[in-house]
């Protein structure tokens, strides 16, 4: 009886603790949403009057418009290039032995621990040296470098779930390596490719620190434009942008979770 009671108390307090932490996680999103609908230009809680005028301003503000467009362009290029590069490399990593394999892997995964400001500064000085600073190319390259580790990881995990014997069976049935790739490996890899691309796209769209170094007035991405706004203005326009951001990201993730099983992609599914 005593043990039963103790277990129950433990269970309830555990649930409460987790609920509190989850509340901590969603608190900023909740507060920012409140702020976004506040009619006043100065922060105040609770809002006395609600309006959507900050959303209107956010959507018509020139820097945000160009920033959004730049972000979409950079994200589309960067995530697609990263997907192509990362898929090829993940296959080579999983299936082949080759010289300097470990070194190559180490360099490509290094952006996971090398601070983004270092990467940004490095590419800035490199581009300056090459006379290519402040162009779109260097922004795209920066984003490819930063999101590539996530694509490699995502595709690699998907590859692990493909039985190599399927490829051997195809070969024994007369499929040349190219046909094995197009008829067996890539179709089976499709969910991993989609989630890898989605990952890359979301991360690229949100990348800020490295972008801050390599973008200029003409190439600034949305996060950089938003950062510029925070430094100049204090009104809730940014809250409105944040709400749009949060809504789109949460929607994308819910879709990803429903169709692709986020747990599997993130490798947090219980084994048994």
């Amino acid at each position: 009886m005593r043990r039963g009671l103790r277990t129950r108390i433990l269970g309830i307090s555990g649930t409460l603790l987790v609920a509190l932490i989850l509340a901590f996680i969603v608190l900023p999103a909740f507060v920012v949403t409140l702020a976004a609908f506040n009619d006043r230009a100065i922060l105040s809680f609770p809002p006395a009057k609600y309006s959507t005028r900050w959303f209107t301003r956010a959507l018509t503000y020139r820097d945000f418009q160009t920033g959004l467009w730049n972000s979409l362009v950079v994200t589309a290029w960067a995530s697609s290039i990263a997907l192509a590069v990362g898929t090829g490399f993940a296959i080579a990593l999983k299936r082949y032995a080759f010289r300097l394999k470990d070194t190559l892997e180490g360099v490509l995964l290094s952006p996971l621990i090398v601070p983004h400001f270092t990467i940004g500064l490095g590419l800035l000085v490199l581009a300056t040296g090459l006379g290519a600073a402040r162009g779109f190319a260097v922004v795209v390259v920066t984003h490819v470098i930063v999101v590539l580790p996530f694509v490699i990881r995502s595709v690699y995990i998907s590859l692990q779930n493909i039985d190599e014997r399927l490829e051997l069976a195809a070969a024994s049935l007369g499929a040349r390596p190219g046909r094995v790739l197009t008829t067996i490996t890539l179709p089976l890899l499709a969910p991993g490719l989609v989630s890898g691309w989605l990952f890359a796209a979301i991360l690229s769209f949100n990348e800020f620190t490295a972008s801050l170094f390599v973008t200029g007035q003409a190439t600034q991405t949305l996060p950089v434009a938003m950062y510029g706004y925070v430094r100049e203005f204090a009104d809730p326009t940014l809250a409105a942008v944040s709400v749009i951001y949060i809504a789109v990201t949460a929607a994308l993730l819910t879709v990803a979770n429903t169709f692709l099983g986020l747990g599997k992609v993130l490798n947090v599914e219980q084994g048994r």
């Binding site: 920012v32 490399f89 082949y96 490095g122």
Partner: protein, 287 residues
């Protein structure tokens, strides 16, 4: 020489693009190294002759303090994130309800995909003097004057914990997911209560995830820029903000580069030291 069956079809096709990206990374690092070893010419992006002056510059008190504060802040953030993230990861892996699992997963992971700017801005709204927390506290009459969160280390750490929490949860959950539940059941069948079973079996087995989560949280915090810059407001100097000031405000690329390098070495060194110190614990996880 025996004729070889082609065992690595398309290897060049698969690897060449990756080599190009790796080359860009190496070139960027080499550029940083080159700049850090050359003299700063005021008013110009070009550099002067070879010098070690830039590294000598790093011994100025303001830089040394930033380096020290960065490591301390990263350390505290990683530790708090670990403590806060563990229960969430545990609940995520162990809950039997599919719906609850999805809710926890999406909730815990969404902030990962929200850029630093959005999250940092949101925290200024929460922590500001007229922000949510102060407004609420004032409303219930607990305080008369707002508590200063902005421009303090406490505010920066709270926001950084929020930033690194998703990664921590993912890494811990990945480790926990691979621990067979039967270990815990076996411990309980042998008379250990749920707490004892957790402390003696599950926690030790999850140590590799704990170490991985801690070091990753450390690296991410080290990399953070918008949070210390906006919430710290220049009062909390860290390496990233200093590099930005030197690089993009003063265009002193050489000193910025040398500070970047010093920061990188410091980050890698600390992570290496943490891994080393944690090795006996990590070994508990077996595998």
């Amino acid at each position: 020489m025996r004729p070889a069956i082609r065992r690595r079809p398309f290897l060049p096709l698969f690897v060449t693009p990756a080599v190009l990206v790796a080359a860009a990374i190496v070139a960027a690092m080499a550029a940083i190294l080159r700049y850090s070893l050359h003299a700063y010419v005021p008013g110009s992006l070009d550099v002067g002759g070879f010098t070690l002056e830039n590294f000598a510059d790093l011994t100025r008190p303001i830089v040394l303090r930033a380096l020290r504060d960065t490591v301390l802040i990263c350390f505290e953030t990683a530790l708090i994130t670990l403590v806060v993230g563990y229960p969430v990861a545990y609940a995520l892996v162990r809950t039997r309800s599919v719906l609850l699992k999805s809710v926890i997963l999406v909730t815990a992971v969404t902030p990962l995909f929200l850029g630093e700017v959005v999250r940092t801005y949101a925290w200024t709204v929460v922590l500001g003097n007229t922000g949510f927390v102060n407004a609420m506290l004032r409303q219930v009459g607990l305080i008369e004057r707002p508590i200063q969160f902005m421009f303090t280390e406490l505010g920066v750490i709270v926001a950084l914990v929020h930033v690194t929490l998703p990664v921590m949860v993912i890494m811990l959950a990945a480790a926990l997911a691979h621990i067979d539940r039967d270990y815990e059941r076996a411990a309980q069948s042998l008379g250990a209560g749920p707490v004892r079973a957790f402390l003696t079996v599950t926690l030790p087995l999850s140590m590799p995830g704990v170490v991985a989560g801690f070091t990753t949280a450390f690296a991410w915090t080290f990399s953070a820029f918008a949070t210390p810059q906006v919430i710290g407001g220049g009062k909390v100097g860290v390496v990233s903000t200093l590099v930005y000031q030197l690089g993009l405000s003063s265009f002193n690329f050489p000193v910025a580069a040398s500070l970047s390098l010093a920061g990188l070495v410091l980050a890698l060194g600390t992570m290496w030291a943490v891994r080393r110190a944690a090795r006996p614990f990590e070994a508990m996880g077996g595998h």
